[in-house]
């Protein structure tokens, strides 16, 4: 069965890899790239929400810190953009570790409040600390990523097509990372935390340790998405901390299927492609309004999300 799943995965990845050959409209390619970035974000949020059961409403903060780290390292420190990407992963990871350690025994709504407050403070800092972040003006001129291996000509990832492959690779890497964590005893520990923390502690599972671990990994992944975003749009401003990003992430995970690995990816694709398709018809306010209503509807009628609902239907037909 594992081979069948792996084969299915390979087919999907191959199809995705072939996409730029078919989709050459740059706008549509842009949509796919954003879908990929959001897929990484959704997978990161899912690691916390879907597996440990703790909701972070401040994930846009990790995304934003990653974006700013990448931008600052390559623009202000003038180092290689790959060092910036590394910073985009490590710095938010440290922040996530910090949040996890600070949160300690906080669970449920208190944890949510902590993450909201953290995000609020970070957002205010990005607007007010002009010396570091240029405030509302943002940081323009973030260089494109390029692969420079010795002996080979430099391969610039400036074009949409090239960047798409980078994002695809990132999505696959994020998916594999999540899968490996979940398939090990770490994943079981996370789920145990969600299902019955007291029982988990009684058999030796250190709740704080695993929550911190999940928070750090989750934040690092969100930061990586932020770094990708920075090198794609080549411009970073406090808008990365907009709550709409967090909301979109939550919808993708909850509607796609939290606690599954395919759910967030499916959710990311649906909720990136759908708004672009609707853009011609309605404004983004209607879109966000629909998101709110959709979140409520999903929780009422399909509480586990689209992927589990489809899987259940497929299973009952067999």
């Amino acid at each position: 069965m594992r081979r069948a799943a792996a084969a299915r995965g390979a087919v999907i990845v191959a199809a995705a890899a072939a996409a730029p050959l078919v989709v050459w409209n740059p706008y549509q390619l842009h949509t796919l790239i954003m879908a990929g970035i959001f897929a990484v974000l959704a997978l990161s949020l899912n690691l916390l929400l879907g597996y440990t059961g703790q909701l972070s409403l401040g994930h846009a903060a990790f995304f934003g810190i990653g974006a700013y780290a990448a931008a600052l390292v390559s623009v202000k420190l003038e180092m290689s953009p790959w060092v910036g990407m590394l910073a985009a992963i490590v710095l938010p990871g440290l922040a996530g570790w910090g949040i996890g350690r600070l949160a300690l025994k906080l669970r449920g709504a208190y944890f949510v409040l902590l993450t909201i407050s953290f995000a609020g403070v970070v957002s205010l800092v990005s607007v007010n600390w002009m010396d570091l972040t240029n405030g509302p003006l943002g940081i323009p001129g973030v260089p494109a990523l390029a692969i420079a291996l010795p002996g080979l000509p430099e391969l610039s990832l400036r074009t949409k097509g090239a960047f798409y492959y980078l994002v695809l690779a990132a999505v696959v890497a994020a998916y594999v990372l999540c899968r490996r964590v979940i398939a090990s005893r770490i994943g079981r520990a996370l789920v145990a935390l969600r299902e019955n923390e007291t029982l988990a502690e009684s058999v030796g599972i250190d709740g704080t340790f695993y929550l911190v671990l999940a928070a750090a990994i989750s934040a690092a992944m969100a930061g990586a998405a932020g770094g990708l975003y920075a090198h794609y749009t080549r411009f970073v401003s406090p808008e990365v901390f907009l709550f709409t990003y967090t909301v979109t992430m939550v919808i993708m995970v909850v509607a796609g299927g939290k606690g599954t690995l395919a759910g967030p990816v499916v959710g990311a694709v649906i909720f990136t492609v759908l708004p672009e398709a609707l853009r011609a018809l309605t404004s983004w306010q209607w879109q966000m309004l629909l998101y709110g209503l959709l979140l409520i509807a999903t929780l009422f009628f399909m509480p586990s999300g689209i992927v589990p609902a489809l899987a259940a239907r497929a299973a009952s037909r067999r």
Binding site: A189, S202, D206
Partner: protein, 259 residues
């Protein structure tokens, strides 16, 4: 089995507001055998369990296990020493299968950390195989092997309590604290539980249990401790305790009632 496996509880006290749930309790549980902790409702038995296993910090007193002072330790750390407990209210992982429930109990028997999880797929696969076979072993011991793929919440009450027991056993306890393992069970289930407890004891695990069913307690215990109003009022063999006038007074004849 090492000699130094016993539990020492000294002057344990627990006060909430003006009420003393425990008012200075001291006892020791030596390795081996089944010891029961009994007493009327509100005597402080579950409080004692909570303190011993780290779920509550005492107002005063000390707990030592295997030669280490463990007062105030976190439950996960105490479990790592081999001191595992079950809970009064059925405590399982409801959405997981029976097998996954027991696999979770085997957490400490695994060693894979984040590095290995990400980079050493073969090692993870090997560990999973090893843990799975151990889990099946535990399930066979408690008699639930046939239900291994069923979701825990689908099981009957008695079966769920068995799952709970299996999870605790999976953690490889040297001292197993059972909090009312037979509560809410039919006489047949109780007999099966009693037999299971003796089998656990025979496989080199010391058992300390809290129970209300006197027949069950007197039937399987090697030693009985009696709490009343947060104090230890008797400590001896089942026969000695049943004849103790203070115990009889505390229960007002409940020892003679059929369970």
């Amino acid at each position: 089995m090492s000699v130094d496996q016993h539990l020492e509880v000294s002057d344990l006290a627990m006060r909430f507001g003006g009420v003393a749930a425990l008012a200075g309790v001291s006892f020791a549980v030596r390795a081996g055998g089944v010891t029961s902790l009994i007493g009327p409702n509100g005597a402080g038995k579950t409080t004692a369990f909570n303190i011993i296993t780290g779920f509550q910090a005492p107002s005063a007193g000390r707990v030592a296990y295997a030669g280490r002072a463990i007062t105030g330790w976190r439950p996960c750390r105490i479990a790592a020493l081999g001191l595992v407990r079950t809970f009064q209210k059925t405590s399982v992982f409801p959405a997981l299968s029976v097998l996954e429930n027991v696999l979770t109990g085997l957490h400490l028997r695994g060693a894979v950390g984040i590095g290995a999880a990400l980079l050493r797929r073969r090692r993870v696969a090997e560990e999973e195989r090893r843990l799975r076979s151990k889990a099946l072993g535990v399930l066979e011991f408690v008699g639930l092997a046939g239900r291994r793929d069923d979701v825990a919440s689908d099981l009957s009450y008695g079966e769920q309590r068995l799952v709970e027991l299996a999870i605790g056993l999976a953690a490889r306890p040297r001292l197993l604290l059972l909090d009312e393992p037979a509560s809410g069970m039919t006489p047949a289930e109780k007999a099966a539980t009693a037999a299971l407890v003796r089998r656990i004891c025979d496989s080199d695990v010391t058992v300390l249990l809290v129970e209300h069913d006197m027949r069950l307690v007197m039937g399987i215990s090697d030693r009985v401790l009696v709490l009343n109003h947060g104090r230890l009022i008797a400590d001896g063999t089942p026969g000695e305790v049943q004849r103790d006038p203070e115990v009889i007074r505390a229960y007002l004849g409940a020892t003679h009632a059929a369970a």
